[in-house]
Amino acid sequence: MLINALNGLVYGSLLFVLSAGLVLVYGLRRVVNFAHGALYMLGAYIGWSVATLYGFAAGVVAAGVALAAVGVVLDLVLFRRLAGRQPLITVIVTFGVLLILEDVVRSVWGTGNRALDPPAALDGVVEIFGAPFPVYRLFIVAASAAMAGGLAAWLRWGRTGLFVRAASHDASVAAMCGVRTAAIGPMVVGLGAAFAGLSGIVAAPFLSIHPSMGSEILVLSFVVSVIGGLGSFAGAFVAAMLLGQVQSFGTVLLPELAALLPFLLMAGVLIFRPQGIAGTKG
């Protein structure tokens, strides 16, 4: 039982870091980024390529830096121009970005599965509650906690972070401070993309690397952000942890229904509380 809870925590932390990037971009740009899963996948592949040559740590750095750059470009070329357009249009445009990134991945790395071993220092198992548990999974929780902590500190004490928090709370704040948003946009979208890329490479030794990993996790990160309330970090945290546990225990207790549970949960939340756990109305 406790091992299940721990596995749920591992999966939930990963989902939260990924969803935090989605929430960040939504908060500032009011863009639900359908390409977010593709960014996660791109991070995993870039990280894999670098890690196999220069080691895992280099892979992590490369995934973060490369994806931050992709995010900056995305904002400058597309999202900035879409500010104020109908949500319909922005959603479809990010869907187009998803298709392009999937093509890039398929062209560069092919369609086969890739496996990445955890670094030697994190390989192996420890005994927890009398059962063996992979060390790498504990690393996932630690890395996620560090990233989430960093983000929370930035949002709470950083000047830019404070503004982002205000903007995601109330869209009109972002609109009123148009000039500042223009300068902050690339930074925030870059950070959101870096979070996607980092969660991709961190997930790589845990889940496998394949060309549909992006779309699989995208759907789940949507479930997280809808349940949590679009644009809310605290809501996304609660939802990610909840979903992690649901997945972990669902697989054990209700194997037939496990894959359906997240969607049932999301439908239920949307029907009874359309604004999500932490969302505000409108």
Binding site: R81, L88, V91, V93, F95, V104, S107, L230, A259, P262
Partner: protein, 341 residues
């Protein structure tokens, strides 16, 4: 223009609901062209056309939801796939009712189910609706993979189409040329029905709700049911396409339930545009032709598709239908407000 509308006003109510005779003529011409194409086109082309016409039902459903309700769905592969699976079940020897009746009930049943869903989710709009449909579509996809006894899991179901249905021989339905004629005729009938629906008060009410739901409520209406009706229509049409899919292919698998397939339908609808009812159908044809042509030339079909989608959405949001309309007005020398410059 104004002289013409005054004329139609004087006419009895029933004829007001019918599209102009010219529009009906175009529909008949399209069916005629389909007959000619079916009998003379090379098999590869006929098969391509048949595929695109069947998927056009899905694109039409997605486009209808955009056109009337302004909602984007990422999950309409679900009603299409359920229609296809429904046909497979209706044709299986274990079905409790005659296949002739079962096949006819599928689209109305799926429409009714989506009407109920529509009543429940009526408060959900915009981005959240897109995410909800994505989750709904995914859960149907997952269910099809999991419940093997019903769906055959990822292997799918092979369907034995009876030799005769409604007294007709069914062999022709499984050839590209035979199905092409049937599918095009059915598609034109659906288009006609939709054109009539849009002219009814219910159709105009649905548009009014999209434009300004609050004022509609202040005019004495409840808005929940009309919104659900549009969602039901947008699901029943793909379901019909799904039925044709099964009759044609004799095989169904979860492939037609993936959200990638829903996404393709959305691309077709956007590419075709929603300013005209037939836009998504043109989008479906263009999609298949592009894929056939580019798929042979380059392996970067996905990237080209994505780029096309972005460029069309940003620079020409009215799609092929809008371009065609603008061209038509230029040829006839009239100018309409709202054309992109």
């Amino acid at each position: 223009m104004s002289a013409m509308t005054e004329h139609t006003l004087a006419a009895p109510a029933v004829t007001r609901l019918l599209p102009k005779p010219g529009t009906l003529l175009v529909g008949l011409v399209v069916i005629g062209v389909a007959v000619v194409a079916a009998s003379s086109a090379p098999r590869v082309l006929a098969s391509l056309l048949t595929q695109s016409v069947i998927v056009a039902f899905l694109a039409l459903g997605v486009g209808l939801l955009i056109r009337i309700s302004g909602l984007v769905s990422f999950g309409h592969a679900a009603p299409f796939g359920l229609g296809a699976y429904g046909a497979a079940w209706a044709l299986s020897p274990a079905a409790p009712i005659a296949p002739e009746i079962g096949l006819l009930l599928i689209a109305p049943a799926i429409g009714a189910a989506f009407f109920l869903i529509g009543l429940v989710v009526s408060r959900i709009e915009g981005i959240a609706f897109g995410m909800l449909t994505l989750a709904l579509g995914q859960s149907v996809h997952v269910a099809a993979n999991k419940f093997r006894t019903l769906s055959g899991g990822s292997d799918g179901l092979i369907v034995d189409v009876p030799r005769r249905l409604w007294g007709f021989r069914t062999e022709a339905l499984q050839t590209a040329s035979g199905m092409l004629i049937v599918a095009v005729a059915a598609l034109m009938a659906v288009l006609l029905a939709l054109a009539v629906f849009e002219r009814t008060r219910a159709g105009r009410l649905a548009v009014a709700i999209r434009e300004n739901e609050e004022r509609v409520r202040f005019l004495g209406y409840r808005t929940r049911a009309p919104k659900a009706v549009v969602l039901a229509l947008s699901a029943a049409i793909p379901a019909l396409g799904g039925v044709l899919f099964t009759l044609y292919q004799g095989f169904v698998s979860p492939e037609i339930l993936t959200w990638g397939f829903s996404g393709q339908a959305l691309i077709m609808a956007i590419l075709g545009g929603s300013v005209a009812l037939w836009g998504p159908i043109a989008g479906a044809l263009a999609f298949f032709v592009l894929r056939e042509e580019l798929g042979g030339l380059t392996s970067h079909w996905l990237a080209i598709l994505g780029t096309t989608l972005i460029v069309v959405t940003v620079t020409w949001p009215t799609g092929l239908a809008g371009a065609f309309g603008a061209l038509g007005r230029r040829l006839t020398g009239t100018v309409a407000k709202g054309d992109p410059a």
